[in-house]
């Protein structure tokens, strides 16, 4: 922690940053996002297994710093979304200072003690416990026991289903959707100034939480994130209806890897999958 606070203080004292987005504890010792505006504020910074939030979402939500750059404390998975935002021209690399953190995985249920069973599924297949890209790196890697990747088995099962069975599975899941759009609001890559569901002249998607409206919303979001979602799973964590959104996003991500050998958010100089035309791209899936 001292390392994190020392670096943050140095960034303020050398006037390199206007603010730093990090994590702090509240009076009940719960870890939540916290924006430090001064060297003094940084003393509240913490990082531990409860630092679940992907703070990259704030990079496009908060106003630009009046002076200096924006500092951000980020795990390896979250840094992928920062790189994705740079690849998609939403922020410039020079505008942010990334304080990468070696991560020993995070909790699944925030109100329960961290344990092997209570570890976020995404940590199971994490390849960036030590971030791949950063300006500063803090923390130490420890050996951690990881839970079974239950979702992978579900994905394989879904793959083997008929179209009708898949429809029934997702109909039952989407039925629970209340259209609170928490999935969209926590997503660092859902940064559209006006979301298609909010467009009312004309209305493209039913705003009602009916089967039709819920399918339209959840499928549109999955399509918009295809080849873009970096798998932070914040949408699934935020969903009050407990819809397993990561199954959809991870599946689309695997298609991008398997069909186009593309992983979003790994290289700031790489053109994006959807935003780039390559004559060698496969087209056998078209007809």
């Amino acid at each position: 922690m001292k390392q994190l606070i020392d670096i943050s203080k140095e960034l303020f004292e050398s006037k390199q940053v206007g603010y730093i987005i990090g994590y702090a504890e509240d009076k009940f010792k719960r870890v939540k996002p916290f924006v430090a505006y001064s060297s003094l504020d940084t003393e509240r910074f913490v990082f531990n297994n409860n630092s679940v939030n992907n703070l990259a979402v704030y990079l496009t939500r908060l106003p630009k710093a009046k002076e200096g750059k924006i500092g951000i404390v980020a795990k390896g998975c979250d840094i992928k979304s920062i790189i994705a935002l740079i690849q998609e021209n939403q922020i410039k690399r020079d505008d942010v200072i990334i304080i990468g953190v070696n991560c020993n995985s995070v909790v699944n249920q925030i109100d329960e003690q961290f344990s092997k069973e209570n570890t976020a599924i995404k940590c199971k297949y994490c390849q960036v416990r030590t971030p791949a890209h950063y300006d500063y790196l803090v923390g130490e890697i420890k050996e951690v026991e990881l839970p079974e990747d239950k979702n992978f088995a579900i994905m394989q099962k879904l793959d083997s289903m008929s179209a009708e069975e898949k429809w029934n599975f997702w109909e039952a899941e989407f039925e629970k959707c209340v259209k609170c759009y928490a999935c969209r609001q926590v997503c660092p890559l859902c940064y559209c100034e006006q979301c298609i569901v909010d467009k009312s002249m004309p209305r493209w998607i039913d705003s009602s939480a009916t089967t039709k409206g819920n399918f339209a919303w959840n499928m549109i979001r999955a399509f918009h994130l295809s080849g873009r979602c970096i798998g932070c799973n914040e949408c699934e964590r935020a969903c009050p209806a407990e819809i397993p959104l990561s199954l959809l996003n991870r599946k689309m991500g695997m298609v991008a890897i398997n069909e186009f050998n593309y992983r979003h958010g790994t290289d700031i100089n790489q053109p994006t999958l959807i935003g780039n035309y390559n004559v060698n791209d496969k087209e056998d899936f078209i007809m």
């Binding site: 009940f28 939540k32 209340v178 609001q185 926590v186 039913d206 009602s208 935020a238 009050p240």
Partner: protein
């Protein structure tokens, strides 16, 4: 009114009888995370120690989407067709005081200048069986909004655990009394209501004085506190949609096909940017801090002024589910602290 003794077997038999006679029987789900309509009496969950469900039971009175009427194009005119009337009786078991009390609170707004027949009909058709609550975590604050783990507000019948397998069931309303007399085979054994020991139920300490909070809100429409709150909030509607008392809705027309459609009443929330966006593009609540101020002010100031009720039951759902853990309880404590400081400064 009488108080009866019910065993778990009595309750199961009652649930079975109700399912068989066409009632929609609603209970917390097995994992306690939501309220569900059950089709087997074995799925009935009565447990005072449960954490409040992550989503409240309001959808059984105020569904997330509800058809008001259908329309059909008939040459150059439109025919209006009433939505099917829902007359199914329903009964809710295992509802905590922070769930049941929400019904009379929001009934006031649904019966203010216009009587919302959709809401009223469902309330009329529902028997609410409250259950004393033995759960309390750092997110709960029912005692700060004038309620308690044994509040009977909003219940037709109210149950208090006596032993592991038995409950005292108090009759609270006339509707409850009628229900009991219709099921007299189950409701047989009575006890003296005054003899029930509720000392075992821990009453959480008050965390803030709602009157002082309101007095501060009256004078601090502009305050730096709001800037800080808006900063973390991501502007989703999780808080409003899991809340038992949030009741804002949007009215939309949706096409079924090019000749017909439906008009629907859908949940809406003040935390959405488009909630107050005018057709001109102007938005009086254009920033998240203004929207968060609205959430607090509506619950603890405007509603209190208009309806003499606090629009919050202290259930803590909004905090538990918030993706960034914005804690309304801590915020109200902070406001109360500011209120105390401003009193002592004057």
């Amino acid at each position: 009114m009488n108080t009866y003794v019910l065993s778990k077997d009595h309750l199961k038999n009652l649930a079975l009888e109700l399912i068989n006679t066409g009632y929609k029987v609603i209970s917390p789900s097995k994992d306690g995370r939501r309220f569900v309509a059950i089709s087997s009496a074995d799925d009935l969950v009565i447990n005072s120690n449960l954490k409040p469900s992550s989503v409240s039971m309001k959808e059984f009175f105020f569904p997330k989407t509800e058809t008001l009427f259908f329309y059909k194009r008939n040459k150059d005119e439109y025919d209006l067709i009433d939505a099917a009337e829902v007359n199914q009786p329903q009964i809710i078991f295992g509802a905590k005081p922070c769930d049941t009390s929400a019904i009379p609170i929001v009934s006031k707004v649904f019966n203010w200048d216009y009587k919302d027949e959709f809401f009223n009909k469902k309330v009329e058709n529902t028997i609410i069986v409250g259950l004393a609550c033995k759960f309390a975590d750092e997110n709960c604050f029912c005692t700060s909004v004038g309620l308690s783990p044994v509040s009977e507000k909003g219940s037709d019948l109210f149950m208090i655990p006596l032993t592991e397998n038995t409950y005292a069931c108090k009759v609270i309303s006339e509707k409850g009394k009628k229900f009991v007399s219709n099921h007299s085979k189950i409701f047989t054994e009575t006890i003296d209501g005054k003899s029930i020991n509720i000392n075992e139920i821990k009453i959480p300490e008050k965390r803030f004085e709602s009157k002082e909070v309101k007095a501060w809100l009256d004078k601090n429409f502009n305050h730096k506190l709001w800037d800080k709150l808006g900063e973390n909030c991501l502007g989703c509607a999780q808080c409003a949609f899991v809340c038992p008392t949030c009741h804002c809705f949007d009215i939309v027309d949706e096409e079924c096909n090019h000749t017909c459609g439906r008009r629907a009443k859908n949940w809406d929330a003040c935390q959405f940017e488009i909630f107050t966006k005018h057709a001109s593009g102007h938005n009086p609540r254009n920033e998240q801090d203004k929207r968060y101020r609205q959430r607090i002010s509506h619950k603890f100031k405007y509603y209190t002024e208009k309806f003499d009720e606090i629009l919050c039951t202290g259930c803590g759902r909004c905090t538990r589910g918030c993706p960034v853990l914005t804690d309304i309880g801590i915020i109200l404590e902070d406001i109360n602290q500011l209120a105390k400081e401003s009193i002592s400064n004057n």
